[in-house]
């Protein structure tokens, strides 16, 4: 009796299924002429280990992780953003503007709501591109550029 069909069926059933994965990297870039400090607040408290400092022209990777499956522009996690209430962006240690995650009950003097196109926390405000080196792997890239208008809005 030819056992080949049975063997093929066994291999088909027991063969491993390779998980699909999306890797992401998220960068912030300072395109202004000013030094920028990004300070996250966690339940109203600053975590000093998660303060970003960007001199003019600097670019920093703030999010490197993955999601299961092939994801099309699904956002990302960053220890500098995830879990915090807001990020205060300070220019030249002088002018500041708050980027809110959720809309608060009271506001700082200068702020961007989550719906603002300049809000750092809204992943839709980030430049996004992706490529698929294989059918089971996607590599996504996010970029947020701080621009001179951000500085002017904070002044």
């Amino acid at each position: 009796m030819n056992k080949l069909p049975l063997l093929l069926l066994f291999i088909l059933i027991t063969g491993c299924t390779k998980e699909k994965i999306t890797i992401y990297n998220a960068y912030v870039k300072n395109t202004t002429a000013h030094q920028i400090k990004v300070v996250p607040y966690f339940s109203g408290v600053i975590d000093n280990s998660k303060i970003l400092l960007l001199n003019a022209g600097d670019s920093i990777n703030i999010g490197n992780g993955f999601d299961r499956g092939i994801i099309n522009h699904g956002g990302f996690n960053s220890v500098y953003i995830s879990g915090s209430d807001s990020n205060i962006v300070i220019f030249d240690n002088t002018y500041s503007i708050t980027h809110y995650g959720q809309t608060p009950s009271s506001f700082s003097i200068k702020y961007y709501l989550h719906t603002s196109p300049r809000n750092l926390r809204n992943y839709l405000n980030w430049y996004y591109t992706a490529e698929d080196p294989s059918k089971n792997r996607r590599e996504a890239f996010y970029l947020f550029r701080f621009i001179e208008q951000d500085y002017l809005d904070a002044r």
């Binding site: 059933i13 699909k20 999601d67 099309n72 699904g74 996690n77 220890v79 879990g83 989550h114």
Partner: protein, 187 residues
């Protein structure tokens, strides 16, 4: 009967520089084991199991890992682990961050929160899951228990139409056919 060998990844990245946190390993182990228990629930038949749509297979495993991880880590003192408002500074990947309520059609269409939506009592539509996407699924369905679905319904479910039929035949008080149709239309 075939007993599968289940392998769970240890490293986050291909360069093996970063290991998964223990909750990720626990959660993924639950996910993969759920596939095996799902197969047994299909009257113990691999032939029945392989006929189940991939979306239903994966979404069931997603729900099991979410459900068990929630129990485990709440017992360990993280009170809202896996809840719709759970997103710590170093969050786990789905389904435990925000209970995967930010899923939308841009995400993988096999790994969905479909079964989570059937048993939870949270409607994610319009909710801001910063820094993840805003919820888009209108989920007015609640009141089903995971245990009931597993013991009574799962072996009859092969795709969305048989899922719909089973859910409508066993509606909890207050859930309508229209609400079930509305929820499933997002998947």
């Amino acid at each position: 009967m075939i007993f599968p060998i289940i392998k769970v990844g240890r490293y986050e990245n291909i360069d093996m520089e970063r290991e998964y946190d223990s909750d990720e390993v626990f959660s993924t182990t639950c996910h993969e084991t759920a596939h095996t228990s799902h197969m047994y629930r299909m009257n113990g038949g691999i032939i029945q199991f392989i006929q189940v749509e991939a979306k239903l297979k994966e979404s069931w495993a997603v729900c099991i890992e979410w459900f068990l991880s929630h129990i485990e880590y709440v017992e360990r003192g993280v009170n809202n682990y896996g809840e719709w408002n759970y997103s710590p500074a170093n969050p786990p990947i789905y389904p435990n961050q925000f209970a995967y309520q930010y899923w939308n059609l841009g995400f993988d269409d096999e790994y969905t929160p479909l079964y989570i939506d059937i048993i939870d009592n949270h409607n994610e539509i319009g909710i801001n899951y910063d820094p993840r996407p805003t919820g888009t699924v209108n989920d007015q369905v609640s009141g089903y228990s995971l245990a009931f679905i597993e013991s009574e319904l799962l072996r009859h479910i092969y795709g969305l139409s048989s899922l719909s039929k089973q859910l409508k035949a066993h509606k909890p008080v207050g859930v309508t056919d229209g609400q079930i149709d509305l929820l499933l239309s997002f998947y």
